[in-house]
Amino acid sequence: MTRGRAPRIVRAFLRRLGAREDREFLVADLDEEYDALRAAKGVRHARRWYREQAARSTLPLIRSRIQSWRGETSMVPTRSVLMRWVRDVRFALRGLGASRAHTSVAILTLALGIGINAAVFSIVDSVLLRPLPFPSADRLTRLWNQQLPQGFSYEGFSPALVGAWRRQTDLFERVEASTAASFVYEHGTGASMIAGAYVTPELLSMLGARPLLGRLFAPGDGRTGAARLAVVSESFWRGELAGDRGVVSRRIRLDGHEFAVIGVAPSSFRYPTELQQIWIPYDVEQPPVETHAGERFAVMARRRDDLTASEVADRVKARGAEVHVAAGQAPVPGGKGTLTARAVPVGDSVADRTERSLWVLAGAVGFLLLIVCANVASLTLSRALARVRDLSVRSALGAGRRDLIRVTLIEHGLIAGAGALMGVGVGKLALLATSAMLPESMTLRAFNVIDLDDRALLFLVAVTIITALLVCLPPVLIASRTTVADVLRHASRSTTGSTAARRFRSGLVVSEVALALVLLVGAALMTRSLVNLQQIDIGLDPEGLVSTQLAMPQPGFADPSARDQFFDALLARLRAMPGVTAASAGGLPPRTTAVSYGPLEFADRPGERSKPVVLSAYEIWPEFFRAAGIRLVDGRVFSADRTAPEVIVSAGFAAKHWPRGGAVGQRFRVGGGDWLTVVGVTSDVREMSEDDTTDESEVYYPRGGLQNAMYATGPTSLIAAYETVVVRTDRPAAAAQMIARAVSRVDPRVVVARTTLAEHQFAQSIARPRIVFLMMSVFGGFGLVLAAGGIYGVLSCLVTQRLRELGLRLALGASPAQVFRLVLGSGLRLTAAGLLVGLGLALALVRMMRSLLYDVEATDPISVLAVITVLTVSAALAAWWPARRAMRVNPITLLREE
């Protein structure tokens, strides 16, 4: 009997709907027929019938309940519940219309608070809260190479190494890899550079991508000799291919080769980042000879479901060295340390800093909303008190406290609703503005699309309801506590406040000041750290900067001097090309190609040895800084006729080791090597990366001057070295083609591995700090204005309340100055209390921000003092006007009114 039972939930639902005296019979009747039907026509039929019955029964039963509740027996309810609501809403609308100023200020304030909150929520939601949009996302793991014991890790995996990890089937179900690259895309009228990625064929399917059109890659794609295939992004398809539905098998030209488009990936698929428009298959086991993605694959693996993340992490670490050897990785030159690996669950890969800044932003907007609520509550209270008599008359006429509360709730529901509607608009705008500015390093790691989606709207509704309640309940309760007798007793007097109301108001001022203080302290700390460190500067000029990685094969290039000759010829050729303003070679910071490792010793401080450090080291050709757009801030570039080893260091390095300046001319050595003379200091090049464990300093060596270096992608049996050509040009796409052509002219054996447009590479880093500062300042500014407005509103209301008392004081001989001081003093006392509370709160909360600050302590006294001053001045100004008004009260007029 159990298996064929009627749908349980439907049944329970119907049972709830039925009238108390009928429900058991109703359900039993239905069951009886259900059983008969099941016996005759089968379970499915019977179930469908049951559900249909339930659906059809809902309305009559509800109607019946309402009628019996209202004690009506006639068919047509005379005044339905709906009617009463309509009446109440109309009443409320009329009330709101009567005080248009109050209503519009309240709605606008709420719209601002709610909208900004919704926008920030959707960002936090898509970056932090929502699960990654990949199947089995909790088992996805990123692999890193790790250098022990220094512990610095980097992401470059050679195809062989990817293959070696793929064979660790006891740890991972799937091991896939990708590497971002820029491609020259030739269209009808010219060429442009687009961001793309080489991916292992099954990466897309592991990440759950579904093609919008055509298919994605399958095993066998991207092998030696296989056809050249490409999957394009939805935006590329719409923008470049005109949304042609017959795009599949259409051919496009990338890097001078024909590729067949086999599918379109939907815009929701964004991997490695949102920038990628093209994916090219690359089989790591049998790499296509003619495609050279380089040695810098990022690996994404899915761990077996019988292992935990920490088990995998432990085993990967223990096994890393073995796998490196299995992949035929040459031992590290110099033999220092061991190379192993590290596994990090992808969910954790949202950078800690990003997470922290997002929470700080979320906290800031939360505070903003609270200030908004406090303001609107204070507005509401003023209005409610002004209407005390109205309410009392109503209650005298028989309206219960419940009715009064309901009417007020409807009014504020309407205000909050209107605020929420406008808030959607504000949120959309805020989101547009933010995502235009928000750096990809903060948003893309989320892989989720940021939008005001259902979740954000749900959040918005919840916030609105909470806001409405917060805003209107306390005033209503206070106002409704006023009895008829109270009103009658004070009949003609301006009763605008009971003790409770006054206390509530004072509480509002105190909390507004406290909240504003927290917001402002945050904003001030951010601004100060911005001033302290020009973090906006990425240190190089990415516009028109093309870098091409070249793989120098072992045959012919094992000897460094052969490489020098090649580059001399290549650079000469490149510099002569049209549109090229500078060409040079050497790695492009901050992408580390080599590191020097060891303790530092300084000639001016004999006997002092630092702890071992990891320095990003670059061997550069002449004209490098001009080509890369890296500024020389002090000293000179390398001289042609140098006698001693020279280096150029980044400003960060110089400031760290010669804090009093004068780095040029100093000498130091790394790991006991040759003494190096600093001849120049350059700007720091920064790319916000999530796992940058190198010491953030660059050291540039002249060609041939680098010793004791370790290479991230070391020499292999095929490749002697990877070198990077950097070219500054006003025509990047053309330049990328020219570089490839020039390379094959100079020596066809050299492989053009990968071209990157610096603008693509640095897109993530450029905006990031700016946005956090900007948003914090904007929120802080809003908070200040709102808090000042709130203090003003409350104080002027307090003065109105005390007019009689003040008039009396004046009549009894108090001087206007005394009255002025009295009012100003009460305002400032409240402010002081708020400051005290806020200070405690701020000190507790800004600790969260510590990692976001550069060279500023979270308890920075200057910022805190500045904020306190600003707030006190604003509060004094806000209290000034009411105090002046109080001073000018004319006792005669007051008494006449009596």
Binding site: A28, L30, E52, Q53, R56, P60, S68
Partner: protein
């Protein structure tokens, strides 16, 4: 006759069914009876809602049967017309007959 004694269409159907089923009128049989005769789906909810209304008006009363003599057997709620109900039904039927007299339909279709 007061206005409240007019019967809505479904109320009329139910009362007619009650008049036909006599002692066997409970949820299941009433619903089926109307559904079969009217030829359109009828929900149990509508049946109970209407019965309740009719009972409130005093046209219908109910009795609850003893549990059925099987294991786990349940009681049923049987309905029947009150004297007032019968009077109203008779009045409505007569009214309907009077109103139908002489009505000519333009089409010859049988309304099923």
């Amino acid at each position: 006759m007061p206005k409240g004694d007019f019967l809505a269409e479904f109320e009329l159907y139910l009362m007619l069914a009650l008049g036909r089923l006599h002692d066997d009128a409970y949820g299941v049989t009433l619903r089926r009876e109307i559904e079969e005769r009217a030829g359109r789906p009828v929900s149990i909810g509508a049946v109970y809602a209407t019965l309740k209304r009719l009972e409130d008006k005093g046209f219908v009363r109910h009795r609850i049967s003893d549990p059925l003599p099987v294991q786990g057997g349940r009681s049923r709620k049987y309905f029947r017309l009150t004297a007032e109900g019968e009077r109203v039904l008779r009045y409505s039927a007569a009214m309907m007959t009077r109103m139908l007299r002489g009505v000519r339909f333009n089409t010859s279709e049988d309304p099923r």
